[in-house]
Assembly symmetry: C2
Homo-oligomer: 267 residues x 2
């Protein structure tokens, strides 16, 4: 869906930038179903582009079914245009969760190599300069639509316990624990990033699309690094859900993650 | 810092897109300090642009201090170019946390109005069509650099208990609890979004920069919605940290958030 509109607009075209920005606001909920978009003149001023450019961006939004344009009543976000991200991350497994029944996910292995650890991986996992890591790039899809681009680094001594085939067919955590690794703690850091050319192609989005990015460092009980994950996620396909509960009394009152229900939302 | 390089490149220029993508990879850690960038020809092919365009993007990266260009040895990410996001979110307070000592944050109130709840807010908070909400837009800065653009919606009956001045100077949670609200649970959903013109100006970034986006719905003990937050965060200034611990035995082994240490990272 997302690629269709962008494909109508050449790379580097101003209309493409306006299209991506408005599409993001619609799929991100800032412009919800039924909301009116500002008029063409207002949009043109706001983006410092011509009205012709605004019209081309709106044409692309209309052709992808995100907006309705009616003479007289202006432009509105189409009801049902955004179905919400179908895949969420489950907090107790750190694996993608199928929120709506009937979804299936598939992983595709794009690359699988053994090489010296890049310095940022070596530093995070506590490896020495000569240590080798298995580097794998996988794209995960839900119902044939790609939603995540995952690069994982695992020290060779652990990674030799499972095969390329295993990795394409099993969650990495289960392969690590099957390999005798006593996983103890992880640290995740969440940010945002733009899709570069290779990632954009793999995730079937336009170059310059905003992606959710996640870095995860996993340590075993002895404090040795056993996995470094760099994940990029399509925001229209994937969301990170965090249900929280307010606990404690008085000055000690604080938030705690509400877990144990497969990450179900309390709302 | 981020604006400087983009300011050298006109809106809509292909070089700007290449610049933003590479800058994101550097500040996001995909291209860490010391890493070599691909050669100009490789970058040109990868982005489907000319080498002249690639050179303009690299000039902008060099002028903002993100890369070093040396004849013969190519282009590398500058050591110390990225200091890491200085502000992280504390899980027990859901407030920005000052990771490095000496940082101070300031909030600036951009707008403060009472109006009918937009439908996506009304639906999330369980309001009826005629209910009025206080809508406030605040920009929060650390050491005079803006890092978050926060839009909050609070039902009028609660919001009338505090003033515009209170909101500019106190965390909203403390104002809600001071107003007698028994906060019980929250649900946060994290995604990514592109900066549109207004947000870009407020956060002092280029239009089209990738931002971390967060939606939060807060409910009281009776299940009534008391706050809807839509937050946009600069990824170079803000990160969402999630320390996790692996607990349980056998098939019941799972992840739990590791909290209680002010969100300190275990790594």
């Amino acid at each position: 869906m997302d690629n269709t509109g962008a494909a109508l607009l050449p790379e580097g075209a101003k209309a493409r930038r306006v299209y991506l920005s408005l599409r993001d606001q619609i799929t991100g909920g800032a412009l919800p179903a039924g909301a009116s978009l500002p008029g063409e003149q207002k949009l043109a001023e706001s983006f410092s582009v011509s009205r012709v450019t605004v019209r081309r961006a709106l044409d692309a939004l209309a052709s992808t079914g995100l907006i309705d344009r009616k003479a007289g009543s202006g432009t509105t976000v189409r009801e049902g245009a955004v179905s919400g991200a179908p895949v969420a991350m489950n907090f107790t497994t750190l694996m993608p969760q199928l929120v709506e029944m009937g979804h299936t996910t598939q992983a595709r292995l794009l690359s699988f190599t053994y090489e010296h650890a890049p310095s940022f991986v070596g530093n995070a996992l506590g490896l020495s300069r000569d240590d080798t890591v298995q580097t794998a790039i996988r794209v995960r899809s839900a119902d044939d639509t790609p939603f995540s681009y995952l690069t994982t680094y695992v020290p060779e001594r652990i990674a030799r316990n499972y095969s390329e085939d295993d990795l394409a067919n099993h969650p990495l955590f289960s392969l690590l624990e099957r390999s005798g690794v006593a996983i103890d703690q992880a640290h995740q850091s969440v940010s945002a990033s733009l899709a570069g050319p290779e990632v954009a192609q793999a995730l079937e989005v336009a170059v310059g699309t905003a992606l959710l990015s996640l870095k995860r460092v996993v340590l075993d009980v002895d404090g040795n690094g056993v996995e470094y994950l760099s994940g990029l996620y399509r925001p229209d396909m994937f969301r990170l859900e965090m249900p929280l509960t307010r606990v404690g009394q008085g000055a000690a009152r604080h938030w705690e993650p509400a877990i144990g229900k497969d990450g179900d939302s309390p709302t």
